[in-house]
């Protein structure tokens, strides 16, 4: 999913939704989130890593995710993100919004 600067609202919100959904399965670091998204979308969604981190930090700032530092098995510091209660609520909101949006688009496009 290449990010362009012209349409931040739609794509940014979608990326947030996907990240929150991924974290629902458990705490994960940035790289792991990218891999998970790729895997669960069957190679369709390839996250632009350069936009992943700004998104993660923004989510952290808004309080929807929490971060802790752990030492990886290779003795490197890694930052693990985790969904907060607020984040969980927000996920539900975003999810319903996305459902409404995709249904509306489907209606507009009409029967194939």
């Amino acid at each position: 999913m290449a990010k362009t600067r012209q349409k931040p609202d739609l794509l940014q919100g979608t990326l947030d939704l996907l990240i929150l959904r991924t974290l629902q399965w458990g705490p994960q670091h940035g790289h792991g989130i990218g891999v998970a998204l790729r895997a669960s979308s069957e190679e369709v969604l390839i996250v632009d890593h350069g936009s992943l981190y700004p998104a993660l930090h923004r989510l952290e700032r808004q309080g929807w995710v929490d971060a802790t530092w752990k030492i990886s098995d290779r003795n490197q510091r890694a930052k693990y993100y985790r969904l907060t209660a607020t984040g969980r609520r927000q996920l539900a909101v975003e999810r319903s919004r996305w459902t409404r949006l995709s249904a509306a688009i489907a209606r507009v496009l009409g029967p194939a």
Binding site: H31, G50, Y53, P54, R61, G63, Q76
Partner: protein, 886 residues
Amino acid sequence: MSWQQWRKVIQRALFFPSQANRDLDDEIRFHLAEETRLQSERGLADGEAATTARRLFGNVALAKEETRAVWVSTRLEQFLQDLRFGCRILTRSPGVSLTATILIALVIGGNTTVFSIAHGVLARPSAGVHAPRLATVSWVAENGDIETNLPYPVYTHFLEHSSAFQPIAAFDFARLTMTLDSGSYALRAGIVSPNYFDTLGVRLVKGRSFLPDEAKSASGLVVVLAHHIWQNNFGGADDIVGRPVTVNGQPATVVGVAESNFRGALLFELADLWIPLTGEARDRLQVSRGTAVAMIGQRREGASLAEAQAQLAILWTQLQQARPDLKQRFKVRLVPYSATAGGNSIVSTRGNRMLAVFSVVTALTIVIVCANVTNLLIARAAVRQREMAVRESLGASRGRIVRSLLAEGLVLSVVAWVAACLFAWWISKGVVPFLVSHPETSAPVVTPDLAPDWTVVAYALGLALICTIAVTAGPALRTRHYQLLPFLKVGEQGVVQGRSRLTHGLVVLQLAFSVLLLTSAGLARRSLSLQDSLDVGFDTRNILVATVHTVAGATTPESNGRLLEQLQNQLGRLPGVEDVSYVPGRRLSSWVDFPVRREPSDESVLAVDNAVAPGFFAAFGVPLVAGRDFTRATHSSSRSAIVTRQLADTLWPHESAIGKILLTGPPDRPARAEVIGVVENAYFSGRGTDGPPRYIFFSSVDRPPAPGETTFYIRHHAGLDGMAPAVARALREADGRIPIASLRSLETEIASEVAPFWILATLLTMFAGGSLIIAAIGQYAVVAFDGRRRTREFGLRIALGASSRQLVRSVMAESFRLTAIGIVAGFALSVGAATFLARVLFGITPTDPPTYLGVFVLLATASLVACYLPARRAARTDPLVALRTE
């Protein structure tokens, strides 16, 4: 955002940004390591895996920056980040930063000092005056003449009918003698309406102020004392209220004491006591002034100054129609009250003009310093061009770069502002008392409080902000012209800038303004030295001036005349005294307003008239060129007069004036006087005019003055320091009821006339000297920086055979061109300014050659030195080193 999040943000921005950065680095590094591992597992070699991982990630620096942007997404956080960055940049080049800070601090400090002086003297109310919305009533004629006092009925009319301007108090001023057990004292008294203290909001620490009809009653005179009189002369006694005192020979009772430090509403009419303003009181005290009073009052709450003034104007017109005898050529004007407002003293009228001069000087020095600092910062920015280009290629917008430059400038200015406030505070405590206590400025009796208050500090902040904007505009403007590629390709020093118009323009600007300030200072000094070297026509040394009050010792003019003669004799008998004479009043009059003419039909010539005692010209040491001096014998026929040679030549050219009759006074009722002597021209009453004015002297023996102030002029042998105490003793022994108001030497009195000019000249010299140094340093810096950047070019030229002397000459020729332009522009400005200055200063011509020559030599020398030093260094470049330098 919640409070928690705010706290985290501020913490991150201010205290732990480096920690946050390190975290981010760690996070990205971990990501890349993981991706590399993934790629290796897919079969790529190690090196290829790493590069693939990098490639997949994208622009690492940009991603980090965008993440940081998330942290600092609010303007405030961005601003704080810029400030921190600014501090870091400033500490990286300490030389430039320190210089810039000192320069800005000096100029802000100097200017705030001047501002605080002006504010302290011109804008504050007198001590003890607490009422709000006060305004002084001033009277202005069409030709610009200002009057402060108008007849009493005008006051009563205003008092009765004005509504927007209430309450109104009236006051006048006189000198009285107060006699106590301890002796007689010459005091200054305010003659005031009963509501005076209430109108001004002055507290009374003891007793009460005057009751409305108090003075009309026959129960006697009442006075209110000033605080220091109560402390010094009565020992601060608790039973002061009700104590009897004698004022001008009349019994009076003390009814109150004013709060400490209150000496009256105006700075230049300080009072030691106050008496009520009624005709009876004035008669009893034989206070010989007319019935004119000054007025001060409060605007009613809600009424603007214009409204109140309009109402007074209407009342004034009504009054003039109803009472044609009160008609005057003045219009009424309300001036917001301050200790020096509305009067016709030197400070009130000239004060504004001097303030204008200082404001311009202020502005000039600010421009000079800002131009200088801008050049310094531009020079530094030139070194950072590469950094700017890289930042821009990484995605920073121009606006962001400009904002960070602004933050740098702001940090600089805030530091400078703090330094400047300290500097100004130090000056007000240290330098100003020095100025005021200098013998030539002994005039002001009260030193105004000049420590910077909030107004001054705010003014300094305003200046600091202006400086910020000014110095950052320069480098910021330059960022518009950056082309990315050349800077990325070559090294820092590689690009030859070519002639930079902005920098050189600023150097020329500084030089021109410095020239302007230098010529102004030079002209001021010249005016001073002209005044000093002016031959007043007599030897001013060894003349003692003693002013006494004779009210307590004599009651009629005749008895006063006898008393004065007696005093004159007694003083003349003192050892060491050569001649003694006296004049009525505090000093010789200098008003050129006395008309004299030969025939009634002639046009009148204006002269200065004074009444003097016999022996006056001997005491002053001015010779009589014809005729004789006054004698003690009185003449019953026409009055005798002595005129100066100039007046005699004007009225009777080529003839002897002795024995001629002249007419004085209005044409329809002339008074006759016979000329019995002609005296040499001299500046008897001060140097304020161009050319000695025409004097006419009358004998005080013919018409003895009423008891009051009289001033003795005593010429004594050189070198007798004990003269003053001997004179004081002799006067006291002659009549103990006569206090001495003041005892001073004529030299001091004449010297104190030039006090304001001396202050002006000194301040101008300080500012001009500072500007010259700053401009020279600025030019040095520009040439040095130019030279450093052209190292390669110089190295090449030397390698190709140029001698060092040729190089020096070429560099200097280039920079001297700027100097020449600056000097020419500066002189043009100076001529313009000097025509304005000629109105403030005395006796100078706008194109005074010695001054301009001196300024030219001074500036040319300074500029020469400033250009030569870096030129010499440039010429010493080792060509091998230069060509290899990147």
